[in-house]
Symmetry: C2
Amino acid sequence: MTHFTLDPQLQKDCFTLGTLGDSLLLLLNNALVPWFILVPHTEAIELFEMDRDSRLALQRDTDALAAFVKPTFACDKLNVASIGNLVSQLHVHVVGRRRDDFCWPGVVWGRPEREDYTDAAVMEIAAALLAQLGDRFSLLDH
Amino acid sequence: MTHFTLDPQLQKDCFTLGTLGDSLLLLLNNALVPWFILVPHTEAIELFEMDRDSRLALQRDTDALAAFVKPTFACDKLNVASIGNLVSQLHVHVVGRRRDDFCWPGVVWGRPEREDYTDAAVMEIAAALLAQLGDRFSLLDH
């Protein structure tokens, strides 16, 4: 964790839920879709530039998160992406999509629609992560 | 390769360049951005549902493709994504982005802008793949 600074835009837009494996796990503050973001501890900008072990760990953490999101939020499809056109700090989106969500079948990136989470809803998500991914997920020390 | 059928929409929208590792390698017929698509030989719909060996192979093939695309097309950023809201056959987009491209910093998915490739441009891309990824990339047998 040393010398790791989260990008200010990600910090502003998201709740920091904790750590999942070697990454910070964020929840975008948009209750319209379950939208998680993994931020690995790396200086790389592109996935292919990560060192081999970190890349493999990120793939496994991403898959574990995806396997949590799909049934927990009753999703029809997952959208998993590394984009980074606006925020260069490497981060991976795991977004649960439903055929009845606000912009299906379009993608969520660039859409203006937003709805704040309640604190209770965020706590509920953190509790579900602890219950189901407790071997990889930890709440942040405060 | 047995019993592998490419989704008709992908077939219609893309050139099939060949195979990269265990995946079909497609080029979307849109010369506005270098937009490659890997289609692994799997019945899984989500990345996390792939068997462990196939998942790892896909990650390595995706990274090898990304490492080819970024310098070859002088990209500022790569967008790497598994979306699949419209085409359920599992496929991974590797899109090279430039700050001067048609929709930077927005994402390319859902945009209507299109420009056909010339045959010569497609051949040139296939030749570059052969030259730089020849250990993983093969043209299709016709």
